[in-house]
Symmetry: C2
Subunit: 106 residues, 2 copies
């Protein structure tokens, strides 16, 4: 049930969560512990961990809905890669045009 997108959400918006919620999500997503392992480590119930993870992920998704940083990030990354390809293809003017467009996107 863990996805790359979940990890990105935590990277982008983790600082907006409370310390407790963020550290639980880090154990779950970054350290890949199971809910039961986190419950053991933190000395709380598995259900408690489950609730914290669920609520935290919902908060992160709400931030993405409001700010859309991951969507922006993905689009910027694509433009930068395209500009690099154009430089490799000996088309610096094309790369420049893309970079000028990128400035309006960030």
């Amino acid at each position: 049930m863990k996805s790359v997108e979940d990890g990105l959400l935590l990277d982008f918006y983790g600082n907006l969560l409370t310390d407790k919620t963020r550290s639980t999500l880090e154990l779950y997503l970054d350290d890949d512990l199971t809910l039961a392992e986190i419950a053991d480590t933190e000395n709380i119930s598995r259900q408690g961990v489950h609730d914290t993870v669920k609520r935290g992920m919902n908060q992160l998704r709400e931030y993405e809905e409001k700010l859309g940083l991951i969507e922006k990030f993905t689009s910027q990354m694509a433009i930068i890669n395209e500009a690099i390809e154009l430089i490799d293809d000996n088309d610096p003017d094309g790369a420049k045009a893309l970079l000028e467009a990128l400035k309006t996107e960030i």
Copy 2:
């Protein structure tokens, strides 16, 4: 007392505010109304507008402290401009190196 930075804060984080706070800040910062004018328009006291503006700006600054998007934006913009200059100076390889570095920044 209004600064360019204030406008940027509203651009970046305005969606995290309540509708009421955001629209008051838009009248104040984007439309450049005075507190008294906003009070008239919204039919609330000048003091009420003042409090909403102050509280809203504090929230925006807190978001910047936590996410640092404006700092990131400023740094990315500088790198993109530098890459464009390198292309203009006939140094596409230098521009490419900068763009590779930029990918680790976004």
